[in-house]
């Protein structure tokens, strides 16, 4: 290996690692606030990336069906609750969030898709389609089980993942898609050529990570999320609505998932189920950080990206094997430190 290849692999690894870091943060956030191990995060990546690629070719992405029907399902459940409890004043909000918003977004996309607007408009359309899916998924699958154990919530996550990959295959088909890069330029830095797309990805990740940090440290909503993460009952007692914090954390998760999908779409060819593997790599990063520390998770994710890029050079067929067995030594280290007897809450 010469230094050119070395630097190229580093660039590749850091670019992917930045996306994994973003995902790892979202996963930690959702886990801390709701105790949900959010495996379906990967599907948001897929939906965003493939929707962007389809919009670029002037086609209407099937994501909007998921949005509209998901919204209608959530609205039906809410309406049933409103009818039973006679809380009619909640009606306008439910109708706006779960019916009007998805339908308006869907109509907008149907109108805009064949017109092939500028790439930035398409990015906004993708965000408008994918981000509302987070709270909808929370409402449908998780909210009724908010007090269930981590393990039950984990099974729900796998079930949601199942449903969403199934839908993904129906709406996007089996073929792989790739989006155009946002920025085609290349810079030469000494011996190595750096693509502008890589710089863009890393910069976007860093900005988002900083924004999340600011949100958490300095806004009242961030503080509410942190309080819920520390102690759900306590948060409820001081008047923080835990259902709302659940929705908020899922909103952030779907936003980060969608952004990751948009960032990765020009870098790799994605298939209907690729997001799952990408999301899991975010998990590996989060586990490398011990499932608790945000900065360590970010470092762990970059390590995953680098390992992946170097193993694809040396042993490309075993790339995934190497990345996914990486968590074993980390778990060894974690298990050596633990003395505590583990039990679930009933």
């Amino acid at each position: 290996m010469n230094s050119d290849i070395f630097l190229w692999l580093v660039q590749d690894g850091v670019t992917n690692g930045a996306i994994y870091a973003l995902l790892a943060l979202a996963l930690l956030l959702v886990f801390a606030v709701t105790r949900v191990i959010f495996v379906p995060q990967g599907e948001f990546i897929t939906f965003a990336a493939l929707s962007l690629a389809l919009l670029e070719s002037g086609r209407t992405p099937g994501t909007l069906y998921i949005l509209v029907f998901g919204g209608l399902a959530a609205a039906t459940i809410e309406l049933f609750g409103i009818w039973r409890q006679r809380t009619w004043r909640r009606l306008p909000r439910i109708a706006a969030l779960y019916i009007a918003l998805p339908v308006v977004v869907a109509l907008l996309v149907v109108w805009a898709a064949p017109r092939k607007f500028d790439q930035w408009v398409q990015v906004l359309l993708v965000l408008a389609m994918v981000v509302p899916l987070g709270p909808i998924v929370y409402r449908l699958a998780y909210q009724p089980l908010a007090n269930a154990s981590v393990l039950v919530l984990f099974i729900v996550s796998m079930a949601v993942h199942y449903v969403l990959t199934g839908l993904s295959l129906i709406f996007f088909g089996g073929e792989g898609l790739r989006a155009r890069p946002f920025w085609d330029a290349k810079f030469t830095l000494g011996v190595v050529e750096i693509s502008a797309q890589s710089i863009f990805v890393v910069a976007a990740s860093v900005v988002l990570i900083l924004a999340l940090w600011l949100l958490f440290e300095h806004s009242i909503h961030g503080k509410a999320l942190r309080a819920t993460a520390m102690n759900r009952v306590g948060a409820r007692l001081v008047g923080i609505p835990t259902v709302l914090t659940g929705h908020m954390s899922f909103l952030l998760a779907s936003f980060i998932g969608a952004v990751s999908g948009i960032l990765i779409a020009p870098i790799t060819t994605l298939y209907y189920d690729t997001g799952f593997l990408i999301g899991l790599k975010g998990f590996v990063g989060a586990i490398l950080g011990g499932m608790a520390s945000y900065p360590l998770a970010a470092v762990g994710s970059v390590a995953v990206g680098l390992l992946e890029s170097f193993s694809s050079f040396w042993a490309s067929a075993f790339k995934e094997v190497i990345v996914f067995t990486l968590i074993i030594p980390v778990l060894v280290w974690l298990s050596l430190r633990s003395r505590h007897v583990e039990e679930e809450e009933e």
Binding site: F154, H161, Y162, V163, S335, E344
Partner: protein, 599 residues
Amino acid sequence: MSRSGVARFAALRTHAAFVAFVAFLIAAPFVLSEFNVTLMNYIGLATLVALGLVLLTGVAGLMSFGQQAFVGIGAYVTAWLTTAYGASPWLGLLAGFGLTGLIALGIGLITVRLSGHYLPISTIAWGIAVYFVFGNLEALGKYNGLGGVPAVSFLGWTVDTGRKYYAVIWIATLCALVAARNLLDSRAGRAVRALRFRATMAESFGVDTARLKLVIFLYAALLASLSGWLYAHFVRFVSPGAFTVNIGIEYLFMAVVGGASQVWGAVVGASVLTLLKEWLKDILPKFFEQSGNYEVIVFGLLMIFVLHLARHGLMPILARLGRGNRSPAVAAPAAAPALARRPRPRAAEPLLAVAGVHKNFGGLAAVRGLSFEVRTGEILALIGPNGAGKSTLFNVVTGVLRANGGAIRFRGERIDGLRARRIAQRGIARTFQHVNLVGTMTVLENVAIGAHLRGTMGTMAAMLRFDRDEERRLLHEAARQVERVGLSAHLAKPAASLPLGLQRVVEIARALAADPVLLLLDEPAAGLRFEEKQALAELLRGLRDEGISILLVEHDMDFVMGLVDRLVVMDFGEKIAEGLPREIQSHPAVIEAYLGGID
């Protein structure tokens, strides 16, 4: 009908369900078409894997999405050995067990000690890794797999048709089901059933929970490996496609849909999902033009519905339809040889010596330099206002928490720093402030957990029913202790059905079943009525007269003052007074702590 008559009738009905199931299995190959026999074979293969998950997930609380990898290892090892080297399939089975065992041991050693969510995530990750290993190794035929796997033969009888495989698969599956049921109804099984929600309690009665979790993980892996071996020789072909992560997810869904806490849930779940998948594959393409994995969507939605509406799966619902009641309770034998008892300490021996013990939680000092002694044959009460550090001290003495400083000696031996189960071995038994019973188990079974260290039979002996002699003695002892605390009428009820006060008394019976030298009782009288308190005091005096020393935490002063020999009073983690009941009642520091200062 008399009580025993009802039990016998219920037992008969359970047996009837089992007999009907076996009769169906025997009749099936003679009536069903070739296609349906094949389907039954797949159900049997899936049941083996789902059964492992029932024990692992539903009973022990460990979740794995990686069982398909163990199935794959079992299948690939035998396929490779028999096709590349012409080895006997039986060698393939042993080699598959060997490799699966090694890998499961490795993964298990690392993960069973960690928090609940590490195991499922890591099983997904390594399941993916194993899939890619199968798909990329030249020797295993890469993504094309290995064909031409030979049929198995036994003493000249070649198993080469679907119907013959049916016999082999279902005999293996039935054996595994019966073995699992035997296991759950045994000394080891009661410990396994406590793992999920009551691991701390189990440790306090001598159960090595980490080792037991590892054993269950290993057993589930070996069942999966057996399923893989049967699969490889039945289908005669293996390829990575049969061992994807999705298959692993489906195995877990089977366990959950069937009812992850019951052995028969595995059969129900495996049948429902296998048949549903077949039916959906048949019917869905008629509705949709486009091809796709529609069954995946249906499975996912089905899982979400099951978890929202029937979290315990279909088996309990079927059981209710079938006989309107739970399976008959384990009964205690009327007579059995007594278990060995521990030698009692001599009366003058200092029993428990707590010297300068500290315990901090972060910046909060819960116990600060506390020292006192419990002498042989006395009842010592530890009292103090709420938050004085009494329960923390209990947890430190019994090894649930580790002291930050000081020394604890029991019969002259340092016990601080020992794990809870090691302390239990030395003759200390306890009750918990927050009742710590396995709610779904009967009172008798809960109390029998107390006698865990007085038996020796392990999981293997339990599966093969070699443990029946010891089991009779353990259950008889447990029943004796339940009778002693006056709860014989509740013997066969699920522990959770008792009022909270009586559940505390069950905790005392469980501690007594451990044959303790020192008994630690955390608020035993809370929630009891007046007569029940009097009976409890009487019981404790009787225990003291037998030579059992008692350390108790209690708030009810009338109860304490009339019962105990000496008191230690704590406030803010420190000892503020020590002495006889009448001395304590007039002690100025105690009055100040309880009633507040005058200034």
